[in-house]
Amino acid sequence: MTGSARRSSGGSLRARVRVPQLRGLRVRLVVAFTLVAVLTAASTGALTFREARTGVLQQSQDAVIKLLRAQVGKLAPELDFPPGESELRRFAVDVAGGEPSGIWRVLVDYGDLSVTSAPDDPFEELTPALRSAVDTSPATVFQRVNSGDHTALVVGMSVAYAPSEAGTVTSGIQVFLAVPQTNERAYVDALVAAVERATVAALALAVLLALLAARGVLRPVRALRRATRSIAEGRLDTRLAVDGSDELADLSHTFNETAAALEESVAELRGMEARARRFAADVSHELRTPLAAMSAVTDVLDEDADRLDADTATAVRLISEETVKLARLVDDLMEISRFDAGAAVLHLDEIDLAESLRRTLAARAWTDLVEADLPPPDALRGRVDPRRLDVVVANLVGNALRHGARPVRLRLYEDEKPGAERLAVIEVLDSGPGIPDSVLPHVFERFYKSDAARTRTEGSGLGLAITTENVRVHGGTVRAANRPEGGAVFTVRLPLRRDELSDEGRP
């Protein structure tokens, strides 16, 4: 009976799991791996790029300055002083010629004279800042100048004569050199491209690794989820295969231990419960044989009591009456024990339910005590166990007659709910004070007596418990409630099972 409820909740569980899959472990791992890969590639690339670029540029400018110095040092002593414009021009051309590929452009200043190695060279790369630096510093000064797409190295130096007695004497000649840095730029561009390619490759690798790692983590997690659900559904022998020695394997191991412990304690509890129930069953069984002998002779006692003296007659009648009650109690105990042991068997037969209810009342001479509101003959047929249905109705009506006030009503009708299983509804209504709210949840419990004094009534104290079991074994439900207009109502809902094929009565 709880099976269907569990199934439906399992369905909603599955629906709940599907939705957050977007924020699941796999996505998170991929994002994290990608982020780490991007950050690592970018920072490594940036640092490498910076270092490499500085190195390349440094080296090229050192070479240029060294060559320029050597050239000027070689050519300057040969220069007449003060030089003329044509001499300066030749000097400039000679200095520029120091670099064989001819990419050097040289500007030589002396006083108002300013000549360039190439004719009419505007020498735009030369900034005022560099010029003033050369004016003030005897050292060689350089600057990297970007103009549009081109980068150029501009070097400036004053030509000094060999040291005289007054220290280093400047000649007043300033030499400026402009070298385009196309090679260096190509280098740096290649470097950037290489870093970019490496980043893309690292990214792809990171995603792949993330997916692999996610799979490695998710597989045991999924197995764990399946196993947990399996345990929740009552398959306590569920175990996980433990492979590896990581934390997840550890978790699987712990899971297995927990499941084993759970299985063990559940088995222990079940064993204890089974022993307790078997004890109750055994006790009832043992009581039955002496009771069979006593029950056989109660009629003899009843018949002869009149002929005995008053005290003995009272004692004999007492024994007879109580023997009958004891026999009924033991019978009820046996019945409950069979339900507990799961040994209660349904003997289904298709019958007219109204007829069955009418017969239950008639067999106990209740027809005049109970208002029966039943459907016409054969209007409501169903496959039930007739004996158990009789027990159910007799217990409920008997209970109403004993504890509620008359009129007691017995109703039978079909619950017509489209699409749902066809149900027969049996209602027993009384006109008594109703059931106190504190008692209501317990009315179907075994031996539950509403008053603390536990006064004995006609019933064994098991009637409603047996009723519940009999209804349940049919797959039905029974409920107790108070009616708003007063009085209690017991409602039994039984599936009719008309479509099921019968094993009984086959040819």
């Binding site: 056989a296 002779v297 003899v300």
Partner: protein
């Protein structure tokens, strides 16, 4: 004075039941074991047997089968604990006519004994009904309480005979199990319908009905049984 053979292993139950039955006017012979009971069958010639199913040594079921082998028409009443469901079915299939659940009050046992004896005694003869009805190769002597198929007598236990008489009295009419319980066994409407099913099974076997397509006693699924006369 009906003669009752009581087979019961527990001394107190045996004495109690025997005492109660004697006071009801029965002549009672009590046996402690199944073997003893079978022995007494010949010497005591009982009208009805009350047989406890739980016996030490030879089981009640074996006693029941043994008695049926000796006498097909002897009324046998089983005494059993409720819930020994398997035993009840096997006992009924072994040929018991009815059963009572222990502990049983003397007047209930007495009523069952009377009912099974009435079955054996047959219905009061009614004027106008022909003595022998013939349906195909089956002939039923309603007054003489005998059944023959293709001229060969078929020995039936009281319940089987009464079941056949009841069904064949209204050929074609469908009887519910509850109706048959009341008419044949004099049980309440809510009695054990397995009595009917087991008895139909035995009756079909004795009449040599093909198990898949019975010629005379037919099952009407969802309702019960009917006798087909054609």
């Amino acid at each position: 004075m009906p003669r009752v053979l009581l087979i019961e292993d527990d001394r107190a139950v045996r004495e109690g039941v025997a005492l109660a039955l004697r006071r009801q006017g029965h002549e009672v012979a009590a046996a402690e074991t199944g073997e003893d009971g079978l022995e007494r069958l010949r010497s005591f010639r009982p009208d009805v047997v009350v047989l406890d199913l739980m016996l030490p040594g030879m089981s009640g079921l074996d006693v029941c089968r043994g008695m049926r082998a000796l006498d097909q028409t002897l009324p046998i009443l089983m005494a059993t604990a409720r819930g020994d469901d398997e035993d009840i079915v096997v006992g009924l299939e072994a040929g018991a006519d009815d059963y009572v659940v222990k502990p049983v009050q003397a007047r209930v046992l007495e009523a069952r004994i009377r009912a099974v004896l009435r079955r054996a005694a047959g219905a009061p003869a009614e004027g106008g009904i022909p003595k022998i009805d013939t349906y195909g190769d089956l002939s039923i002597d309603r007054a003489g309480l005998s059944v023959a198929r293709q001229g060969t007598p078929v020995a039936l236990a009281p319940s089987e005979l009464r079941l056949l008489l009841t069904l064949s009295a209204s050929p074609g009419q469908v009887f519910s199990r509850q109706q048959l319980l009341e008419a044949v066994w004099e049980h309440s409407y809510h009695g054990d319908a397995r009595l009917v099913d087991a008895c139909v099974k035995r009756l079909r076997a004795k009449m040599g009905e093909p198990p898949r397509e019975p010629r005379y006693i037919q099952t009407v699924r969802g309702f019960g049984y009917r006798f087909a006369s054609r």
